[in-house]
């Protein structure tokens, strides 16, 4: 069940289906939004309206609500790109022939989580200077004698665990969903090929279960794109307003 190497480069696994899909996703997103935004009519057409809805969802629903203030616009491009990049790459998993969420390969998830990690730390330092690390790890209002316990916990949870959970959450849900749908598919195939008519009949149950799992997976694919983007916004907000936390 591993990807065919489309162009064997002699390095690693060569040019895989996943890479092609990632490149395709960039083309899809860019094309859609450039077409939607191109006309710039005051009374939007269907395509423009759809584009504005999607853009407004990230701009107002995530960036403005979470980060707020005057400077949330600076982070809209990053959040917008993240959301739709992940969304399209996840939805691949629900499209019958393609059926491969790009982030079921962990590399992509590492890259995006890494970008976000670097970004929010850079924002924190730019906003608060080196004092940012103190603000981020020493919570205010905690008695001094507890600090030796709290500070290590804060360091581990903020600077070590956060990027790991951020990337693995996306990767693991995609991989697990992918596996479940694949297993259900194999199970159906297996049961349908049985000679015993009663055993063959049980495949109907598995088909019903597989359809339900497929629906759940489609939901999780969209949800994980939202969760990843939302967490990014929360991290950025935390870095921006470290002094008030």
């Amino acid at each position: 069940m591993h990807l065919p190497a489309i162009l064997p480069w002699g390095v690693a696994d060569g040019f895989s289906k996943q890479m092609l899909l990632v490149i395709l996703s960039v083309v899809i997103i860019a094309t859609f939004f450039l077409l939607a935004a191109r006309k710039q009519q005051l009374v939007p057409g269907k395509l423009q309206f759809a584009g504005e809805m999607a853009y407004g969802f990230v701009r107002n629903g995530i960036a403005k609500d979470i980060i707020g203030g005057k400077d949330f616009m600076k982070y809209v491009p990053l959040l917008f790109s993240l959301f739709f990049f992940i969304l399209v790459n996840n939805i691949y998993g629900a499209i019958p022939v393609i059926q491969l969420p790009s982030f079921s390969h962990v590399g992509g998830a590492y890259v995006l989580a890494g970008i976000v990690y670097v970004t929010w730390i850079a924002i924190g330092i730019k906003k608060n200077g080196l004092k940012y690390f103190k603000l981020a790890t020493v919570p205010s209002g905690v008695p001094v004698y507890i600090l030796p316990i709290v500070i290590p916990i804060e360091i581990i949870s903020n600077f070590l665990v956060r990027p790991v959970t951020h990337s693995l959450r996306l990767f693991a849900t995609m991989l697990a969903g992918h596996l479940i749908v694949m297993i259900a598919g194999s199970g159906i195939e297996f049961l349908v090929m049985q000679e015993n008519i009663l055993l063959k009949g049980t495949s109907l149950l598995v088909i019903a279960g597989a359809v339900a799992m497929y629906m759940l997976e489609a939901l999780i694919m969209a949800l994980q794109a939202y969760v990843f983007t939302l967490l990014t916004a929360i991290y950025i907000e935390g870095a921006l307003h470290a002094d008030s936390h």
Partner: protein, 185 residues
């Protein structure tokens, strides 16, 4: 048959740890995301923001225009009402004036007619009085003369002395008047 499938799957799982990334895939994701970010920052976000700003401006402009039109309309209405009130007051004033003028004219005419009739009456009185006086004078002299002449003739005594005859006549007339007065009493 199933054993072979399962064992193949197990072997595959053992061969690759899913937590170890493929470096080339990471590179492709990084490059793809960078290209997407570039397009979004350079084109997509500015275009949408421009449209949003224009739309907000258009809506606000429309509201302002409507407010202005409404203010103008209510100002015009106020003006019309004012004019209507003025016109009514004017009409009332003119009517009052006309009525007063009519009354004045009527009074003037009445007064004029009254004075005219008084004048005519007075004139007639004066004329009648003067004519009566003239008649009295003329009668007095004429009757005197006639009576004197008559008496002279009857008496046969010429009473040529005018002064004496006049005295006789006067006495006679006075006697007549006295008699008349006594009769009237």
């Amino acid at each position: 048959m199933y054993q072979t499938i399962i064992s193949a799957a197990v072997e595959g799982a053992e061969a690759t740890n899913p937590l170890v990334p493929n470096v080339w895939e990471m590179g492709v994701v990084l490059a793809g995301f960078a290209v997407l970010m570039y397009i979004v920052v350079k084109f997509v976000v500015p275009m949408f923001e421009k449209t949003f700003a224009e739309r907000a401006e258009a809506i606000e402009g429309g509201i302002a225009k409507a407010e202005k039109a409404q203010a103008e309309a209510s100002a015009a209405l106020e003006e019309y009402k004012q004019q209507l009130t003025d016109a009514r007051a004017e009409a009332n004033r003119i009517r009052e004036e006309a009525r007063a003028e009519g009354a004045q004219i009527l009074a003037d005419l009445k007064e004029k007619a009254a004075s005219e009739s008084a004048r005519i009456t007075a004139q007639a009185h004066v004329q009648i009085e003067s004519e009566r006086q003239a008649a009295v004078v003329s009668l007095r002299s004429e009757v005197g003369t006639l009576a004197t002449t008559l008496a002279g003739r009857i008496v046969g005594e010429a009473l040529n002395d005018d002064e004496r005859s006049a005295r006789v006549v006067d006495r006679f007339l006075a006697d007549l008047e006295n008699q008349n007065a006594g009769a009237a009493k």
